[in-house]
Symmetry: C2
Subunit: 363 residues, 2 copies
């Protein structure tokens, strides 16, 4: 697809941009969106940027019935110098294709879609908010659109990219959250779709999230679906623990999402010579570490929050107050360094950031 | 909602109806559809029948991203007397609300939605095909439409009902199929969404289905996600085995869909004084029965095929040829009786069928 160009249909009107203090997550969208269609035998075709607009889709389209869809999430950041940068976007495109494979969706040309995303971001660059902690959230997603209510992979798809200016995740600084261990509901199981970024995993998580919120918790800690013994994720984030100076995180086992922030945290810790181990982590092991006083920190990692410290972890009669409910040193250092690199305030020794500029717009 | 009426907007044009020999499953839709909206604080509102038409939905609508959707499937049949009947539709509406509960979707008024379905079927009654084995497939589904890309239950939904005339499932009589036991992929796990009729379960099944088809099998036999030892479902059907005169089927355990046909088969067998047992069924147990010559029959049950005999069941080095690859007596009797009741050719001792007539249209 290298020779392809994205056809651009400019929006005739420009929407009002939100004030910084009105920004929340995922409710306001920019002036344009990217669309590309798939049909057989042509494959992916007709890449275009069009004014942000409703989709017109047949009610029998497979996406409404059988959940054959995938998505990604990344951000564009404004640097102090006025540059626009993305953080490891190629990792998101690689994962998109891994998700596609699990869901029987035809693969996309990763380099081409990344160029299209850059072009879209550059076109709507005035929407990237500039104040501390704000960014432009980028949501690529693929839906199955064949008008056929039979259980089979669709022969028609749409890849769409929409953009949403988002506020600072931590308005009053990075704050530890209260987490409940989930004993009844399961997010994913080995052999299922947990490794893919697909709607069904998130749909499955809603009930547990609703019940834990009623009890005053922010998120649930997901255990494995087989033995209900090993830790998998926290809410929709990966999870890390610092025990006796070592950082551990559940190893990728087929039911855990391979987070871009997770991968970046592991690399940063190695860079800092802090021991980091990917392995099975049992709830028992965590409890023992807590009782012996060696559970130093716990935190979730994800694109939205970057680092989310866990101040309390509760199940049955157990309430673990980790680091006395405060943000740990490692979590804080990771947050500062990752956001520092993302916003261009710190050096990027890993070549993680990618600049979006006028070159993106003239492909 | 009892006092509500469905507003009807008649289609100005009528589409050509397919010839019986052109009928396949789920590709052709009738002239009208039913829609009802949900928003807060009003709840479900504005029930209406409108010409079949594309939906106009914001690209940020939650249904495209987080899989919060449910559906149902049932059929309308023409009787030899020219009546139109539904088969146990209240069971589908009850299950819809159970699925809603698992997916955090607000419940619907089951009686009202059933009336709306009858009204829609009656309006488009000319679309119900009349030849042997054909019917009108009814697909109610609910999608989450709030324009918000955050992981949380939506505050806006649409319930939609579309109708599709479908051909005979068995064009040349009821035929046994070849089934492969699935060892790698998992459809659902206890604590997940397997009990609910939601897209994610079907999305998760596509990969295994694709791989087994490449090896010449029709469907996979799903094992439990925990021990990979116990039988759960076959393809998107429930499954039954006849061993030494007794019929057994996997007990409902939280990861198995409670099929309306499954329930009807159990009731029919009891009515016939054939022993029927719901219990855990291991693959080992099945293999032993086969080796000792007591595995008499195996068949799937579902709305589309009604009864689907299993002629061959294969895994690793094992190939079980059940009943020498022929349709068993029990499967045949169940198929004949169930379709007999559904099409009004046989007496209905269970009060299963519900007539759709002009009363449905003047609510």
């Amino acid at each position: 697809m290298e020779e392809w160009t994205v056809e651009v249909h400019h929006s005739k009107t420009k929407k009002d941009k939100p004030k910084t203090d009105q920004l929340e997550f995922g409710r306001i969208f920019t002036d344009h969106m990217f669309i590309m269609d798939y049909s057989e035998p042509v494959g992916w075709h007709d890449p275009r940027i069009v004014p942000y607009q409703p989709l017109t889709i047949d009610p029998s389209a497979m996406t409404f019935h059988y959940g054959q869809s995938v998505f990604e999430g990344l951000k564009a950041y404004h640097t102090p110098d006025g540059d626009i940068q993305l953080f490891r976007p190629e990792k998101n495109l690689q994962r998109l294709n891994r998700s596609n494979d699990r869901l029987c969706i035809p693969p996309v040309d990763e380099a081409f879609v990344l160029e299209a995303i850059k072009q879209l971001v550059f076109l709507d660059r005035e929407w990237i908010p500039t104040s501390e902690g704000t960014s432009l959230y980028i949501r690529p997603f693929i839906i199955s659109t064949e008008p056929f209510i039979g259980v089979a992979p669709s022969h028609q798809y749409k890849l769409i990219v929409i953009l949403s200016p988002v506020g600072a995740y931590y308005k009053e600084g990075i704050n530890p959250v209260k987490i409940a261990v989930e004993n009844q509901y399961v997010r994913a199981v080995k052999g299922g779709t947990g490794e893919a970024k697909t709607g069904g995993n998130y749909a499955a998580s809603l009930k547990a999230q609703e019940l834990c919120a009623q009890k005053g918790f922010t998120q649930v800690l997901w255990l494995d679906g087989v033995e209900k013994k090993y830790i998998e994720e926290v809410g929709s984030m990966n999870v890390f623990f610092k025990i006796n100076g070592e950082v551990i995180t559940p190893e990728l086992n087929g039911s855990i999402l391979e987070g871009v922030t997770r991968n970046s945290v592991i690399q940063l810790l190695k860079h800092w010579d802090i021991p980091v181990i990917e392995k099975k982590v049992s709830l028992d092991e965590l409890h023992e570490a807590y009782m012996s006083g060696t559970l130093e920190e716990a935190f979730g990692t994800g694109t939205a929050a970057v680092i989310s410290p866990i101040g309390q972890l509760s199940w049955e009669e157990h309430d673990l107050f980790i680091n006395e409910g405060n943000t740990g040193k490692t979590a804080k250092a990771l947050y500062d360094t990752l956001t520092g690199i993302q916003y261009g305030r710190e050096q990027d020794p890993f070549d993680w950031v990618e600049i979006v500029n006028e070159k993106s717009a003239v492909k």
